[in-house]
């Protein structure tokens, strides 16, 4: 009798947890594609790579059309072995480049990457970036969603 009670109690506990977890899982599923669905991309481009240069640099303007902060956390692309998010910091006449763990796009706001500022550093280029061509890069956001973006290779 005691064992039956114990079993019932365990079963009840498991069911309660399951009942609580199900809506959480479905909520997560609902929001998974949130970021990518609310970002509008403008002027995605990369500078043509120079002779002898195996690093490239890409830029994109992101408009956040939601009421939440969206974070860009990584980029991957066919053209570079290691694309990273970077920022330029200027201290007087000194320039410093620093890796960023994420780039925030404010709620209902815009984040613009541009030469001398935030950029996608295309480290270890697999091929030269030729002016006039395009390549695809995938932007990955903090909520796990992602979106492919065509980058035009052109001078800024």
């Amino acid at each position: 009798m005691k064992d039956i009670m114990k079993g019932l109690l365990i079963a009840f506990t498991i069911l309660t947890f399951a009942w609580l977890l199900v809506p959480m899982i479905s909520f997560a599923e609902e929001t998974q594609l949130f970021a990518a669905d609310h970002i509008e991309i403008e002027n995605a481009f990369a500078k043509p790579s120079l002779k002898g240069q195996n690093v490239g640099v890409g830029f994109v303007t992101m408009h956040n059309q939601s009421d939440q902060i969206i974070k860009l956390v990584s980029v991957d692309t066919e053209v570079a072995m290691r694309p990273e998010l970077h920022d330029h910091i200027k201290q007087g006449d000194r320039v410093m480049m620093r890796k960023q763990d994420a780039i925030e796009i404010p709620a209902n706001g815009t984040t613009q990457m541009k030469p001398g500022g935030l950029h996608i550093m295309l480290m270890m280029l697999k091929q030269p970036l030729q002016e006039g061509e395009t390549f695809e890069a995938t932007l990955h956001f903090a909520d796990g969603s992602s979106m492919p973006v065509p980058f035009a290779i052109k001078k800024p």
């Binding site: 002898g52 240069q53 290691r82 410093m96 030469p115």
Partner: protein
């Protein structure tokens, strides 16, 4: 007002002026600023270049590194544009690497093909340190613990205009309009 108070006021004013002069910034750019001086570096072709060997020629000088994808090419492009306009002047343009570890002579030679009127210069770490010291240029290797096989360089990003004796004339940021550099060179060439 008696003599004593006049003396006292004068004294207080003199001290105030003295203190102001002592604490006010003194780094006004002029040809007397000690930027430039001894250096000895090598072109990718093996030519030795020093302050002495360039005597009689004006110079544009920029310090950077070739793995810099954004800022350095901007500075070099401005210099290249200026040099194309300054073909009739006795002037040479130099790009001094602060990253001799990766900017080997072969690599520098290839990279400089992007900027045909600028000469790449490198040397031993000590020679580069000396050149940077002469130009009051700061640089530092920065390693990223997340990607230990790569590093970046922090550096002063200024284009220096130097006269035919290697004395400082002016400096411009990598975002300058090439016309500013052209005007600065032409003005100096006319007055010399």
């Amino acid at each position: 007002m008696n003599m004593k108070s006049i003396t006292l006021i004068t004294l207080v004013l003199l001290i105030a002026v003295g203190v102001y002069l002592a604490i006010s910034p003194t780094s006004r750019p002029s040809s007397n600023v000690a930027i430039g001086g001894d250096f000895s570096l090598t072109t990718p072709m093996g030519e030795m270049v020093s302050n002495e060997s360039l005597k009689g020629q004006m110079r544009l000088v920029y310090f950077g590194f070739t793995y810099c994808p954004d800022v350095c090419p901007m500075g070099l492009q401005i210099m290249q544009t200026a040099m194309e306009e300054l073909k009739d002047e006795n002037i040479r343009a130099f790009f001094i690497t602060v990253d001799p570890e990766r900017d080997t002579p072969e690599h520098l030679a290839t990279f400089m093909e992007n900027f045909p009127d600028i000469i790449g210069l490198s040397g031993t770490p000590e020679q580069i340190k000396q050149a940077a010291k002469s130009y009051r240029v700061y640089y530092r290797k920065v390693e990223d613990e997340k990607s230990p096989d790569s590093y970046t360089m922090d550096h002063t990003s200024l284009i220096y205009v130097m006269d035919e004796n290697g004395h400082y004339l002016a400096h411009f940021p990598h975002t300058a309009d090439p016309r500013q550099i052209i005007n600065s060179v032409r003005k100096a060439a006319k007055s010399s």
